[in-house]
Amino acid sequence: MLCLKNLILSRDGKKILTGVNLEVGDGEIHSIIGSNGAGKSTLAYTLMGLQGYEPEEGKIFFNGEDLTSLSITERAKRGITLAWQEPARFEGLTVRDYLAIGVQDPDKNLEKEIWGALEQVDLKPEKYIDREVGEALSGGERKRIELASILTMKPKLAILDEPDSGIDVVSLKEIVTLIQALKENGASVLVITHRKEIAEASDRASLMCEGAVLRSGNPKEISQFFINRCIPCDNRLYSLEDRS
């Protein structure tokens, strides 16, 4: 489904992605783990095509199509979407309006889709649907609304940038359930995470280091490798490993 070939990207004169190669299969939950500054979020933004994240080299293929030069909207119309680590505020926009934007199928019952998505993220629709997205919601509530907006879109590939940040242990379990719900809806999920609970609930995981994927494979093994060798950082790792 998703195939990245030698993605290289610099920002402010500094190389952030140094040659990312990665494959994510149909209906696969794939975790990207790595230390701060490894390039995980940059990779997410590059995949979504955000302004300022255009790769200098390399290609992004999605279902065989080269997306590298497509806009954010064009990628979204092909079924790719992104949930930011810190979701945007959106003053004045209600939860209903925000979630409605994601519904791609005009034949769907909009209200039913929105209520269903809110129930799936364990938010009572009657309590949240008319509230403003930018209102004082807790970090967990805002994250859930973000995930609900992804659910209404029914994407083919959902990129989740640290959906676990600022989340308590109970909410973490719910986020794992939601990621699995996305998969059950037919989506592949690329999830950037620091939490082994999420990594280990994936089908596969990749470890990023210094802007490249160092190794991919069984999520438990990759997670354990990360804990053993990257915390604290083993500086020899990058030179010792064979980069695929």
Partner: protein, 320 residues
Amino acid sequence: MTVKTLKVLSEDLKNIDSAYAAAGGNTAALHDHEVSSLVISGSKVLSANQTEGVVLEKEEQENGVNIKLTIKKGYKIPNPVHLCFGVVPEDGLQQINMDFVAEEASSVELIAHCTFPNAVKVIHKMEAKMHIGKNASLIYNETHFHGSYGGVQVSPKSFIKVEEGGRYLSNFTLVEGRVGCLDFDYDVAAEKDALCEMITKVYGKAEDRIKIKERISLNGENSRSVIKSRIALTEKASSEFIGITEGHAPQARGHVDCMEVIQDEAKAEAVPIVRVDNPLAKVTHEAAIGCVDKKEVETLMARGLEEDEAVDVIVKGMLA
């Protein structure tokens, strides 16, 4: 009154009804006998209705109307009072002088629509004095519609006094169609335990010019206020916002919050002023001018909207 005059009045009423609806007003409310209302077209009073607890006096002048609206002591008016001020022709001058009094412990919501749908050269001036009595409450919603030509010059000026324990909440909205030239100047004096909130939302386009000055003096102990301004500008529109809050009494608390979003060649200026001369008072401010938030735009694009659609959703949300 002759048949001819009645016909003219009927035609005027029909035109102003359409103009009122264009401004977002509920025309049924203007003809409901259980709702206090006043309809003015140019310098003519087309209809007026007062319900129990509301005293409505009006006097036609050469270029406008003098109005005195009183909410009697202790009356909580169940339905909002609807006011419609319009100029239907392409040109004209309308001067509204309003004297509003909410007597002690009364409560009312005013819904005013000012509509100039065909304006090419219309001047609308309003001079208002509002007195909100002890423990009285006024919610004042004012929506303007100036049509698509930008030929309106609007100058609403008000002085509002809020007595002890009174509440004054105003919401001025001009987001549909062109603005033309707006010179908005509201001045509020708040006594002990008074609560004041002023919200203005304006969307300027083409060569619209917007000037908003709002001033609240927190004169009484424990008085509270918020000035909140949201302005969006596109093309060559320009705006100047001055939000002044003065804290003169112990435990007075005020906040000025201005956000302006600009696109294209638009220009915006925001000047929040805070003055405090009582050490137990506290006034804060925030002002932000910039383009539409990039992350918000990109989030909506990642849900499938084109960039211009995303900007439109964000601006409309801010002005909602």
